[in-house]
């Protein structure tokens, strides 16, 4: 360094990207997770003779499709640095509203509109508290979690709503082609829509920016509050859609419906490689995580492992898969030193 002042020397070309696309993909979280999914698949096929059966696998998808739909929206929310713990309670409230409407003789299309609409309203309420009132989402949604489900309890008490119209059953029990249920097809379609929204639109870019640095986002002219509001609305709406599917699948509504799902959804999102601190994650990861969780519970179910023991596996899976990249990085920096 003999000259201190930089001279506008020869123009150097900066490449767009480094490495080959193949290398970039291979080093991603999604590939690791996909590997895990494949391993679980192989293990399950070896462990149980009933696993590799189209209809059985099709049944197994019901273990995760509804949760995964919410997880897509939750992923966007978490990437933006927020969280919504009230999703399961929104299902309860939306389902209750649909039940009440069904008793009043509303037909299937109306019920769907009501379910989705109630979800949307709940999401707007959360969004209002977080983005307008500027409250921390984790606490707000702990509150609305009790509030929304509490309203269902007020409405339903110890009663249940049943008697849904015949054609309403299609959303949770119908099949589109062969073994592919309506729910599964919807799950795939939503996965694609969310992937496009997050990865290919300006809105998606704004979500990432907010999650990485919401000051910088605001300083760059991104309407941070509005984006967050929309994301809460979207999460509410997805919960509403999940409520339609679940209610249709169960054919009845009780206030305790979908109890405890919020943590499973968050687990799915985190397992999918979305950073709980915001700013990174991909829909593809969440899709794989949904399959992983579905396969684990289904596989262990075939071995008649009690559900609570399965949850040990899920917990371990969560911690271990998050820890692996961290440990790997540690080892790498240690050996390079």
């Amino acid at each position: 360094m003999s000259t201190v002042v930089s001279s506008p020397a020869e123009k150097r070309v900066i490449p767009d990207r480094l490495g080959t696309p193949f290398k970039r993909i291979m080093s991603s979280w999604e590939v690791l997770l996909f590997g895990v999914a494949v391993l679980i698949f192989i293990f399950n096929s070896l462990a149980s003779p009933y696993f590799l059966d189209a209809w059985n696998l099709s049944d197994a998808t019901f273990n995760f499709t509804e949760k995964a739909m919410i997880a897509f929206a939750m992923a966007l929310l978490v990437i933006s640095g927020e969280i919504d713990l009230s999703v399961a309670a929104i299902i309860a409230l939306a389902s209750t509203a649909m039940g009440a409407a069904a008793q009043a003789g509303v037909g299937a299309p109306g019920l769907v509109a009501i379910g989705v609409g109630v979800g949307l309203l709940c999401g707007m309420f959360n969004g209002f508290l977080v983005s307008v009132m500027k409250l921390p989402s984790i606490v707000v949604t702990i509150g609305t979690m009790s509030l929304f489900r509490g309203i269902s309890y007020i409405v339903l008490g110890d009663q249940a709503y049943g008697n849904y119209p015949e054609d309403f059953a299609f959303f949770g029990q119908g099949y589109v082609v062969w073994v592919f249920s309506f729910e599964f097809v919807l799950f795939i379609v939503l996965a694609i829509l969310f992937a496009i929204l997050l990865h290919a639109t300006n809105f998606g870019r704004q979500i990432y920016t907010i999650g990485n640095n919401d000051f910088a986002a605001r300083f760059s002219g991104i309407p941070v509050e509005r984006v967050k509001f929309i994301l809460f609305m979207l999460t509410g709406m997805m919960s509403g859609i999940a409520a339609v599917c679940l209610t249709s699948r169960l054919g009845s509504t009780r206030p305790s419906i979908a109890q405890g799902w919020e943590l499973e959804v968050v687990t799915m999102v985190v397992l999918g490689g979305v950073s709980i601190l915001g700013g990174s994650g991909k829909i593809g990861g969440v899709v794989i995580a949904a399959f992983v969780m579905g396969l684990v519970t289904f596989g262990l179910g075939l071995l008649n492992v009690p559900g609570i023991v399965m949850s040990i596996f899920i917990g371990l899976l969560l911690i271990i898969t998050i820890a692996i990249p961290i440990i790997a990085r540690r080892i790498k920096t240690m050996s390079s030193k």
Partner: protein, 511 residues
């Protein structure tokens, strides 16, 4: 790689007493920057050593190594001649090193006394914290600095200058033999500086070694005995300060003549573009009026905490002013959000690059196109090719050094990060660009590039507001300078009237 012999220990050879602390062949590497490159320095009892160097020369990095916050990649530290490693901040404190850091790193929610004594609070005989004693000691320390801050109030209720006094008190509260002061006077007024210097004299008399960092030469000549100069992370000179003329030190610092540092181009200044009338803010500033003309560089000078950033942020729609009128190109406009400002053609390059300017984990090109996404996308869908094209255009124009446009911007050196921020805002093709401390913490090469660039922009007809705390920069670059003091306007000076004395006097209110 150990060529310590070629870089003799930066100290004064005439000292007979052995050094209390010696650093040998220290290197510190950050991703993309070699902040320190094989430097050596020694501190002697009863002496104040001035550490001098341009922004980004590595001074603060050295301080952080000495206080156990960074572990150097190479080199060794000797205390009383014995090699020591500072595993963490506590280890450094235990070894007798205390520091006033450049940024006040304190706890908003804790009381003043606690901020001073955290980690070494006086204990009762049950080993529990003795709050009474702690408060009274804190009070005593603050009084010795001629400050009447109540030690039981929370830090968040203090002003910037008061916080600085707390930080100084904290450093002094530690029983140490080596006291480091990293720009302790930046936020202080003359009276407080005098108090501080009295204390420094006291410490000297007690035989403590002091490392003193400042950009103000008058202060250095007043207080320091020895000096060491860093440039670009290397130790380039040392000696007895009083025996070395300022010119020589400056030459060591920058490696060339200072006059050339500010390549200001003479521009024909046009009519008014932006007029601010009686801008008031609830808490930050009052009654600020200014006119910015086409092709003009308007400097804003003041002490830290004078409210300059707040003023400019409210012009950009981040905060709302209480009252006031804003006129752009003769039309009155109201700006309620940054988006409004961007649409109107006013952009703001923030002071805190990492916090406000960039999403560090995201790629360069995505940062660059963030405010211009409307132009690079089609119907709301991203078009990567357009984004790369736009990013490349400004990267080349600013001579950005990066491995690829898709690497996270956080992996770039400070100067290159600053180029990304500036590029990001230029890409919006603004009329008015506000630069808040545009060269803060960037290396000398980049700095000259940024300065050259600012001049070019003005020559192209852009109107520029430039906040800076660096006198040479503000004097070298501005057509006019607004000086702010504690939220109020303290005078507007024309280029011909710009001298360090007038500006400092206006900013501090001292004769």
């Amino acid at each position: 790689m150990n060529n310590a012999l070629q870089h003799p220990v930066a100290s004064v050879a005439t000292n007979d007493v052995p050094a209390i602390l010696e650093m040998r062949g220290i290197s510190q590497i950050f991703p993309g920057v070699k902040a320190l490159d094989n430097v050596s320095i020694a501190l002697y009892p009863g002496k104040v050593t001035a550490l001098i160097g341009e922004n980004g020369a590595g001074k603060s990095t050295l301080v952080k190594i000495l206080t156990g916050i960074y572990r150097p990649n190479e080199g060794e530290i000797l205390v009383d001649g014995k090699p020591t490693t500072f595993a963490n901040a506590q280890a450094a404190i235990d070894a007798g090193v205390t520091a006033i850091h450049q940024e006040t790193v304190l706890f908003d929610e804790l009381t003043v006394a606690e901020n001073i004594f955290l980690g070494h609070a006086p204990r009762t005989r049950f080993r529990t914290i003795d709050w009474k004693l702690m408060n009274s000691r804190a009070k005593a320390l603050l009084t010795s600095l001629e400050s009447n801050i109540d030690p039981t109030i929370r830090l968040k209720d203090l002003s910037i200058a008061q916080r600085h006094l707390v930080a100084i008190s904290r450093a002094l509260s530690i029983e140490a033999r080596i006291v480091i002061m990293d720009e302790p006077t930046a936020a202080l007024s003359r009276k407080e500086i005098d108090d501080l210097f009295r204390i420094v004299e006291g410490l000297k008399a007690q035989g403590k070694a002091i490392l003193f960092i400042s950009h103000k030469f008058d202060e250095l000549y007043e207080i320091a005995d020895n000096f060491a100069v860093f440039r670009d992370g290397r130790a380039v000179g040392h000696g007895n300060l009083k025996a070395t003329p300022q010119d020589e030190i400056v030459r060591m610092m920058v490696g060339r003549d200072v006059e050339n540092a500010f390549p200001k181009i003479d521009v024909a200044i046009g009519g008014p573009v932006l007029e601010v009338e009686k801008y008031c803010h609830q808490t930050e500033f009052r009654n600020i009026s200014l006119t910015l003309r086409k092709g003009e560089i308007l400097g804003i000078y003041g002490l830290i905490g004078a409210g300059r950033s707040e003023l400019c942020q409210s012009l950009f729609g981040i905060t709302k002013p209480l009252s006031g009128k804003l006129t752009l190109d003769g039309r009155e406009i109201s700006i309620n959000s940054p988006l409004d400002a961007i649409r109107a053609g006013i952009v703001y390059v923030p002071e805190e690059r990492g916090r406000h300017g960039l999403a560090l984990p995201m790629p360069i090109y995505q940062n660059m196109t963030l405010p211009s996404l409307g132009r690079t996308s089609r119907k709301g869908f991203l078009k990567a090719a357009n984004e790369f094209a736009l990013a490349r255009k400004y990267a080349e124009r600013l001579d950005l050094r990066a491995a690829a446009l898709s690497v996270p911007v956080g992996t770039l050196s400070g100067g290159n990060q600053q180029k990304v921020v500036i590029g990001k805002w230029l890409a919006t093709m603004p009329k008015v660009i506000i630069l808040d401390e545009p060269t803060k913490g960037i290396d000398i090469g980049s700095k000259a590039a940024v300065h050259g660039f600012i001049s070019e922009l003005a020559a192209e007809g852009l109107s520029i507001i430039m906040i800076s705390s660096e006198l040479p920069e503000i004097i070298g670059m501005s057509d006019r300078v607004l000086v702010m003091k504690e939220g109020l306007s303290a005078g507007l000076f024309d280029r011909k009237d710009l001298t360090p004395e007038t500006l400092v006097r206006a900013a501090t209110g001292n004769a």
